[in-house]
Symmetry: C2
Subunit: 175 residues, 2 copies
């Protein structure tokens, strides 16, 4: 299965969640066994040389990609959640969403100083969610060795915003 | 790594999210690469003979276990989400949470009649969330060939409630 075949599995939905946004629906790719395997294998290949100790991913679609990628790389997975969901002591980070504003949390004891972290989400748009996750990891002393996405919207400035990091992505759309 | 070693990776937090609840925190297991690999491999071994075509899992911790298990079994993954999150036409199901009430949705075109479905979540307590997910799958014509969990709280009646299904779990606590 080629990257073009993989891209063809994504369903593009116009005007969701609001007019003017062309939503990239990954559920049609996820639901296809060979496509899901190919996506995780290809992303793992891109990330294998980064030397990560652990994968971090934000709720909720970052859980889907991050947990499977961690398994494929034989690494652990650390969830970044909406505020109030994690049961132990947390660090909180506020951030600007693409469609609003929200707070995220990570367990303080999940990232020890010097831990090499691969941050993963389904989609890179403006980079707001992922930047908030990166900042939290770094505040706890972790070293972000890479950021990886299934999809990158190349015209929205996310890669530039994440300029100092190694950015990996599988499938590109302009916006 | 034995099942007892795996169980030792889970952090039990008393009185979360409210007094009297002993919360099973899987994040400490997830964060450990060998434990996460062992958990997914062992659950896959239990589920390999069920003949599933696809894995279904509810937001948000069901995404973590379900997406990785689907990858391990070379199957696709279909998310069940909180209402309003999925972009295409949905079936909605209301359900009683352990700590409240909520609505879930699944894409109508994700389950075709006769599709054999493995429903996965992190934890079986009273079985409310998973029962709602099962009902939605069945309304769409899917056949639930099994339900699988990392953790089962054996004294809360979930397995009895799911009596007509094949229930698989890795790690048991009474409650």
């Amino acid at each position: 299965m080629s990257m073009e075949d993989l891209k063809a599995k994504i369903r593009v939905i116009p005007d969701f969640p609001k007019p003017g946004i062309s939503f990239k629906d990954i559920t049609t790719l996820l639901a296809d066994g060979p496509a899901w395997a190919k996506a995780i294998d290809a992303l793992a290949q891109q990330c294998a040389g980064l030397g990560a100790d652990v994968v971090v991913g934000p709720e909720a679609r970052g859980f889907i990609v991050g947990a499977a990628l961690a398994y494929r790389l034989s690494l652990g997975f650390v969830p970044v959640r909406k505020a109030g969901k994690l049961p132990a002591e947390c660090l909180r980070g506020d951030y600007q969403l693409e469609y609003g504003k929200d707070s995220l949390e990570i367990h303080k004891d999940a990232i020890r100083p010097g831990l090499k972290v691969l941050v993963v989400d389904d989609l890179l748009a403006t980079g707001g969610t992922i930047e908030a996750s990166i900042k939290m990891v770094e505040k706890l002393g972790g070293e972000v060795v890479g950021v990886a996405f299934l999809i990158e919207l190349t015209e929205l400035g996310g890669r530039k915003r994440l300029g100092k990091y190694q950015v990996k992505s599988l499938i590109e759309y302009p916006f």
